[in-house]
């Protein structure tokens, strides 16, 4: 297969972007783990990241994280097969439910992260 196969077709390109989302999200999560570890060093040396570079890095990672969420949750309708009262649940309803859960989880987590701050 030619090396640039993924640039010859829009679907191939978007597939590669979808698979690649794992790398920036993984990098951000490793930073997050470091941020947790740094809290263990004590209050004197604790400085949360706040540089412009870090914010730009987070914006880039957020783009990929959102792309992962949209593509992964959209697949739920294909992967998950449910029956209620012996009738199959429409795939569209399953996808809508997943997006609803995503919105609910985001609101709850944001409320905790902001609500427990001072």
């Amino acid at each position: 297969m030619p090396a640039a196969w993924w640039t010859r077709n829009r679907h191939y390109f978007l597939y590669v972007v979808r698979e690649f989302t794992a790398l920036p999200i993984a990098l951000w999560m490793l930073w997050f783990l470091v941020e947790i570890k740094r809290a263990g060093d004590g209050p004197a040396s604790y400085r949360p990241h706040g540089s412009t570079g870090f914010v730009i890095f987070s914006v880039v990672c957020l783009f990929f994280a959102l792309y992962h969420s949209v593509t992964f949750l959209s697949l739920a309708g294909v992967i998950i097969h449910l029956k209620v009262l012996d009738r199959p649940v429409p795939s569209r309803l399953i996808v809508l439910t997943m997006f609803g859960l995503w919105a609910l989880a985001s609101v709850v987590i944001a409320a905790v992260l902001i609500g427990f701050a001072r």
């Binding site: 993984a26 987070s58 992964f72 987590i109 701050a117």
Partner: protein
């Protein structure tokens, strides 16, 4: 191939696919809001965020439910990432990515991240229900 042998092969396969699917779902549902709030809104000062001050951050990190939650959202997605990145290399023609050493490196990496996450969460803040 005997039925017993097929069962032995299928169980690890089932485990890795389960971790891949759960990791993808957890990453999709929970990670974007952390990046938005803790990576962008907090550092820019748009909203107060729990990790911007040592006392609030260390306090919430001591909660056992928070520790369990952080373990799940940090460790499990790495099994998904490992699978996706290994197959991305396969798609780009890196034949070695199919090999057993590559599998050990990628999925072993996810196991290492899990171990490190457990260690960090257990050693960073004492468990406290207060």
């Amino acid at each position: 191939m005997s039925a017993e042998h097929r069962r032995r092969v299928a169980i690890p396969h089932l485990f890795w696919w389960f971790m891949f699917a759960q990791g993808g779902g957890i990453a999709a549902l929970f990670i974007p809001v952390h990046i938005l709030v803790q990576g962008i809104l907090g550092p820019l000062g748009i909203v107060p965020v729990v990790d911007r001050h040592y006392d609030t951050w260390i306090s919430i990190l001591g909660n056992p439910i928070v520790k369990l939650y952080l373990l799940v959202i940090i460790a499990v997605p790495f099994f998904h990432f490992a699978h996706r990145l290994r197959y991305l290399l396969v798609d780009f023609g890196v034949k070695a990515a199919k090999s057993l050493p590559a599998q050990v490196i990628f999925y072993g990496g996810a196991v290492v991240v899990t171990g490190v996450t457990i260690w960090v969460l257990l050693t960073t803040a004492p468990i406290s229900l207060g």
